[in-house]
Structure formats: C-alpha cells, structure tokens
Symmetry: C2
DNA sequence: CAGTGGTCTAGACCACGGT
DNA sequence: CCGTGGTCTAGACCACTGT
C-alpha cells in the first residue's frame, strides 16, 4: 500500500507536521538533505515540495539560515480576473454589452498621473455597460493609450468589449489593481439603475507593457456584486 | 557576456516570444525536448519555466496534445491578507485596538450556513475595532467555533486581536473570501465614525481546518480604504 | 569560512490522452 | 498505440549569508 513518493506526498507530509504542531511556528525544520534521507527520496523532490510551501507562505527559507515554519503565515488569496463576459457567464447569466461612448479626449489628471503620462495627453476613452440577463452588471470606464496600442483606433468596439479586445490583441503586461467601495453618483445611478449614493464595488486597474502605459480602467459593479475566491 | 542559463532565462525568452507574437495565441509551441536543444539546457529546466507560465495562465499544457499559448490569458491577482495590525503599520500608521464585545450566543443563520453548522449553534462572538493613528480603521465582527479552537475561551482578546490570536494558535488550512461593498448601517456609522449609508469596503472570510469550521469574520473598513496589489 | 537552499544536468520511467 | 508532459534520481556546482 505504500504509494510512490512524489513531491506532493512530501508536501502533504510537511503540511501535516505543521498542522499537528510537530513543527511549531517559528521553529527550524530539518534540512532538505535530512528530510530526503528520512522520507526516502531525492533532495530535489523535497526541494520542490518545500519551495512551494514557502511560496504559499507556510514556510520561510533562507540560505544558510535554513527553513522555519512561518510565524505569521501571510494568507494569500488569488483572484482570477476573467474578462467580464466570462464572469457573467460563470454566474449562469447571459452576457450583454452596450457601447456607451467612444471618443478621443485629453485625459483627466488622475488618469495621466497613474499612467505616468504628460498632463492632458489625448487618450482614447471608451465607456461601456455590461449586462447580465439584460440587467446592468458592470460599467467599464476606460482610457487607452493609442500610441501603445496600434490598431485599436480601427477596432470595432461595439461588438467586442475593449476589455476583451485588449486581452486578445495586446502584449502581456503587468500592472496594478485596487479594490474599493464608492457611492453611486448621478451618472452611475442612472447607468447601473440604482439609487444615488448606493454602495458600489469598484476596481481600478492600470496595465503596462514594460514601461509603456497601456490602459487605465475603472470597473464599477451594480449593487450586490461580490468577488469570490478560495484561499 | 552570455549569462548562465537558468529557468528564468528560459521563462523570459518564452514570455518574449509570446509578447512579440513569435508564438501566437492559440498556437502550439515547440516540445520541451526541442526547446531544450535549441536553448542549450536540460529538459527539466524548460519544464520548470513552462510549467510556471502555465500555472500563471499564459500557456495551456496537456499531455500528448503539447503546449499552446493561452487564447484568453486569465489575469491573476494575488493578495496578501496580512493581519490587520500589519496592514495598518504598513500604511505608516500606529495600530490601535479596542475590544467592543465578547460573548457566547447562538449564531445567526447566515453564519451557521456558511460554516455548515446546525442552525443556532452557540458560537463565540467577538467584535473589535482596529484603529490607525487613533482613527477608526476597520471593524472586525467574528464568530468562532469554540469546539474547534480549544483555548480561545480562556484567551485574553483585549490585548491581542482574535484575528492575530487565531493566526498564531490555529493552523488554518483553507477557506473562502468575498469582497464587496455595503452601505453603513447605524451601528457601522457610529463605530467607524462615518455617515449612515456611506459606501464601505467589506470582506467576508470563512476559515477551515480540513472539514472543521473554525471561524467566520466580516471586516468592514472605514470609508476611503483601498486594497492594493500588483498583477 | 562553511552550511544551506537554489539550480542545472542527463537519464529514466510513467500517466495521460490524442490518433 | 505512442508522443508529450510530469516527475524522480543522483550528483554537481553555485550564491547567499550567518558565524
């Protein structure tokens, strides 16, 4: 009944020892070589198991110092940020999309600052409303740097959302995300069909390709939206 | 000037090829063995580089089918969920803590449902306010399953927050998180020193050890709070 | 300086799953 | 069936860092 030793076997064993306090928080655990010998596998296997536990925040590893059980395990939550259509469909609803506005205009200061562009740079502005089963779901307010995204000027954003177009056509990139709550102003209340002052969940996202700013977007969700994940 | 080949070298090269459309979305990429030969390294090195790219959502890998560039790269955002004291201190403020309530009571239905406990199970209820530089920062409303957490009945939660006590004394193995916005009711407005109806950012979290429910907590943040991360 | 984790290599076997 | 990724091994060298 002894199953073959894989790195997951080792990982589960390590987790068990942490959970059952055989290895106590803050305490050093045996070296990779010792564990390999004890558990009857190669050091590389132990390494992979422990490396991932360290990445997940359960262990802290340093060269020479060794490995210890994390004292304050930082819980990490990973969110998938799907394109909105998928999000809607994942909730079992039919996705709808309405392009509200598309223009070129000097971007307001908060946007240019976040994208580190000169003040009042002309950017492409796209506003669109996402619907779930016909009801307002999420307002997408976006500013795109056309210099960094050739082709978007010509793209038909009435059929495919800018969100989706960018995911499909723009290079990989990094960026930042902020989650927060904000009250509905008159415009939001009208578009999202809620009362003025209603508490709305919102996401600000900026996207880059290397040092080139691509887009800044604010997604404002209709009341009741919850962003869910597992730890 | 040729630097030693590490898995990160390979990973960057792969990212470059994806970014510059040498490998197009949906397209198959060369096999591990071919890449290893081309890039002058062992297959295991290529494997690690590509495996992590697949985990990050850039590639899709299947046995026999091979590896292809993801068509809809799912953006993933990872949040560190620190203990609140650290969060406050990380913002350059002094953390304060006030225990508001501590009692034992039958938990309301939403809580017992989420924790999959019988209706009206008696749980330990802890309410506490976290302060940043003396101003209300976050209200912690928590229900703890005392059967699963021996020792908490005797713990002094006026000095250390329940949040921190649990992190230190229980091994949390899993759970769920939900982020949302909600309006301040009368109690929240009073405690967080904001107006009734103000838009507040809130987090519902449930925690488990294996199949045993440990705790359900709602963290409600004072207006203006933003949860920030990088992609 | 010396111990520990980080990584690479070359070879091997296996499980999955298209064909 | 058999190609592809998934993983293990044994040995090796290296980088970092505490002492």
């Amino acid at each position: 009944m002894t199953q073959p030793v894989t790195w997951q076997t080792i990982q589960n064993e390590a987790l068990r020892r942490i959970r059952e306090r055989e290895w106590k928080p803050g305490e050093m655990i045996p070296h990779e070589a010792d564990l390999a010998a004890e558990l009857g596998c190669a050091r590389a296997t132990v390494n992979r198991a422990l490396r991932e536990l360290a990445a997940a925040g359960f262990l802290e590893r340093r060269r020479k110092a060794g490995t210890r059980v994390a004292l304050n395990p930082v819980r990490k939550a990973t969110f998938d940020i799907p394109i909105i259509r998928r999000d809607v469909e994942g909730r079992g609803a039919v996705h709808g999309y309405r392009l509200l506005e598309r223009s070129s205009a000097p971007a307001p200061a908060p946007v240019t600052t976040k994208l580190r562009l000169p003040a009042r740079t002309r950017l492409l502005r796209v506003s669109a409303l996402h619907l779930a089963d016909g009801a307002p779901f999420c307002l997408e307010d976006r500013w795109v740097n056309p210099a960094a995204v050739p082709g978007i000027e010509a793209a038909d954003l009435s059929a495919v959302s800018a969100n989706e177009w960018l995911v499909r056509n723009v290079t990989l990139s990094g960026g930042g995300i902020e989650f927060f709550a904000m009250p509905a102003d008159a415009r939001l209340a009208a578009v999202l069909a809620c009362e003025e002052g209603a508490a709305l969940f919102a996401i600000d996202r900026t996207t880059w390709t290397g040092a080139t700013p691509i887009t800044a977007v604010r997604l404002t969700y209709a009341p009741g939206y919850r962003m869910v994940t597992a730890i």
